[in-house]
């Protein structure tokens, strides 16, 4: 029924102006060698080598491709190198920070550290630890609980408000005056320094609950001020890119607008919203200053956000670094601070994972 053409041995017209697959590797090897040689003249150092080789590689890769494959392909290769480069550049601080935290904190990490608070831990205790007479005492149970509860409450306040506002902006506002005002001021809100947010929340509760009222909930309100704009902005962007035809499809079925939003629009955008919320939480979970002026700081466990002072992980880290329990022997405090930082990072990591799972359940389905 059909005629198959014989396979010719000449070079295919489709591959004529194409570099072989091994070309980038050869260029990379060349870049490494040349940059090593150049640096050998000026004094060798590994970072310099990596940076120089990377620059050489990107340039040479572009040049070779330009000569053989033409400007477009060269631009494509150049862009690809830049994307990979960007990612590697982003990894450098990440790896460095994580490594710093791990290297400094892992020694302080133990089950005890997670389950005990700082009651009874004072200068002489740390002095004994520093002298090698006792193991590292104290832990972060109280701060972990504090951070968890305060962040939870901040989320309980911010996520509905933020999401509803985003919904208002995208679905109801329609460029009206109110929606433009909100859009604009939400941006302004992102620039409020955290300490100002803390002082504002403290001032607010001074009016409501009397001067000097400090509790987890005050901290949660302060964090909400910081968190809401991130939730609004990211959700708004994600809702905006939900195709209108999906809304129209639902409307045409006689579905109410709010149900359309809840059951069609939000599920379609959920993965982005979840990412945004995670980022918002991550943004505030590490805040120190606003919590100290709103929730106070204590060494013992308190699980009631509505009364009494509460510790939090970042405040714990901050004080352990800046004002060690034993001024003469700060090492145990430093160790606790880094270990606490490690725990905080793991906490956000788990949160991130949770958000992704939620997103996956609702996200648009693909495939057969």
């Amino acid at each position: 029924m059909t005629v198959t053409t014989e396979v010719r041995s000449r070079r295919s017209a489709l591959t004529r102006n194409k570099l072989p697959n091994w070309a980038p590797w050869a260029v990379a090897a060349g870049a490494l060698v040349v940059s090593a040689a150049l640096l050998a003249l000026a004094g060798f150092n590994v970072w310099g080598w990596a940076v120089l080789a990377a620059i050489l590689f990107v340039a040479a890769n572009w040049a070779v491709s330009f000569a053989v494959e033409g400007a477009r392909k060269a631009a494509d290769r150049f862009a690809t190198s830049l994307m990979f480069g960007a990612f590697i550049v982003a990894l450098v601080p990440l790896v460095s920070v994580i490594w710093t935290v791990l290297a400094n904190g892992i020694a302080g990490f133990s089950l005890d550290f997670l389950t005990s608070d700082m009651q009874g831990v004072r200068g002489r205790v740390d002095n004994a630890t520093a002298a090698g007479e006792s193991p590292l005492m104290g832990g972060i149970a109280h701060a972990l609980v504090g951070t968890f509860l305060i962040t939870l409450w901040a989320s309980i306040i911010s996520i509905p408000i933020g999401l509803l506002t985003a919904i208002y902006l995208v679905e109801y506002g329609q460029g009206g005056r109110l929606s433009r005002a909100i859009t604009f001021f939400v941006d302004v809100m992102t620039g409020i320094p955290s300490i100002v947010a803390g002082l504002f929340a403290a001032g607010l509760f001074a009016v409501i609950a009397g001067p000097g009222f400090k509790a987890g909930i005050v901290g949660a309100v302060a964090l909400s001020v910081l968190m809401i704009p991130v939730v609004v902005r990211s959700s708004e962007e994600m809702l905006k890119i939900v195709p209108n035809e999906l809304r129209e499809a639902a409307y045409a079925l006689g579905v109410r607008k709010w149900r359309t939003i809840v059951k069609v629009v939000i599920p379609t955008a959920i993965s982005g919203i979840a990412s945004g919320v995670t980022i918002a939480i991550a943004r505030v979970i590490g805040e120190t200053a606003p919590l100290i002026v709103t929730a106070g700081f204590v060494t013992r466990m308190n699980a009631n956000v509505f009364s009494d002072w509460m510790a939090s992980l970042p405040a714990f880290i901050y004080y352990q670094i800046l004002n060690p329990t034993s001024p003469t022997n700060p090492e145990p405090s430093t160790l606790r601070a880094w270990a606490a930082a490690l725990v905080l990072i793991v906490l956000v990591m788990l949160l991130n994972l949770g958000a992704r799972l939620i997103a996956r359940v609702f996200a648009p389905k693909t495939g057969r």
Partner: protein, 340 residues
């Protein structure tokens, strides 16, 4: 934690309730130990303290946000006046609770101690002396081999009680060189490298060869320490020297009897005094709204200024215990606290 029978000092029965305080970070470590001891001796009593800074402490007490405060500077006259709204007609008052020497600390390979006088210190910190082998330093330190390392001055970038005390010393003891007034902010004219908090400056000095800073002496372990010329001798930053500086201070004029506000004598020539010291005052109201709070404040205030309390602070936080005389004065002052 360990308990001390002396905690809660006074003969009265154990008190209970929650006491809140805020203020200077210098007393942070001591406060942790005091709160522990106090709670152990008075079951049902607990003390919350945040290190929000001296200014926040003074404002907090005046605004009635806390029961007591700690501050590296005593209340000003205006603040005293303002405090009458919350603290009753006699207003608030100051009691020294924590004394510590400020060490001039440096990082110079092979040199663990140096002798410096006020003018030289001022010249170094104002940038007039830029190398370690400067003649002025060498003259004060015969027999010490000084490298020609560049001096990197490191000061606080946050507003700080330590800075205020240190610049107070320089402006009084070396007025010719140090032409700026005392201030909690490092004078812009002499700006150099800076870092946040005592840990910040100590850390930066520890990492930078040739660096020098000033910091609470309890925090400078591992760095080279300067002895300061007082009269004809050189004083090292010791507990005794600081305590003695507090003893020889001038009382602030025009204050009530129970207000133990004083200014250290920075130009003292008395042997054994270490004039570059820092005093943190406890700030209390002269009257409180209810008996329970008044009792609680009294008990806690008495305890921390007692010999036992001062010992605890010395052991846990490395401070200099108040002299017996000051302790007694403090006890008397705190005893005047009443209910509105």
């Amino acid at each position: 934690g360990t308990t001390s029978s002396a905690a809660g000092g006074t003969s009265e029965a154990a008190v209970s309730g929650t006491l809140t305080g805020t203020g200077a970070s210098s007393v942070g470590a001591a406060m942790v130990a005091w709160a522990e001891e106090f709670a152990a001796a008075n079951s049902g009593a607990q003390v919350n303290y945040t290190e929000e800074g001296s200014g926040a402490g003074r404002t907090g007490l005046i605004d009635g946000k806390v029961n007591f405060a700690a501050s590296d500077a005593y209340l000003t006259d205006e603040e005293l006046e303002a405090s009458k709204a919350t603290c009753g007609p006699d207003g608030a008052f100051d009691v020294p609770i924590y004394v510590s020497p400020i060490a001039v600390a440096f990082n110079l390979e092979g040199v663990e101690s140096l002798n410096l006088d006020a003018d030289t210190i001022a010249s170094i910190f104002s940038g007039k002396i830029t190398a370690w082998n400067d003649e002025a330093i060498a003259a004060l330190n015969p027999g010490v081999t000084l490298p020609d390392t560049k001096i990197t001055v490191v000061h606080r970038n946050d507003k700080s009680g330590t800075t205020e005390n240190f610049t107070d010393y320089l402006s009084q003891a070396a007025p010719k060189v140090w032409t700026e007034e005392k201030s909690g902010d490092w004078p812009t004219a002499f700006a150099a490298e800076s870092a946040k908090g005592t840990s910040g400056v100590v850390e930066t000095v520890a990492k930078t060869a040739g660096a020098i800073t000033y910091a609470d002496a309890s925090r400078t372990t591992g760095l080279g320490i300067a002895s300061v010329k007082v009269g004809e001798e050189f004083s090292a930053p010791t507990a005794e020297g600081a305590a003695k500086a507090a003893d020889t201070a001038h009382a602030v004029e025009g204050r009530a009897d129970h207000d133990i506000a004083f200014d250290l004598d920075r130009t003292s020539t008395e042997a054994g005094v270490y004039p570059v010291s820092l005093v943190t005052f406890g700030l209390f109201c002269s009257s409180y709204a209810d008996q329970e709070t008044a009792d609680l404040v009294k008990a806690f205030g008495t305890y921390i200024t007692s010999a036992a309390g001062q010992e605890v602070a010395a052991a846990d936080a490395g401070s200099s215990p108040l002299s017996a005389e000051l302790t007694a004065q403090a006890a008397e002052a705190i005893a005047t606290i009443s209910v509105k």
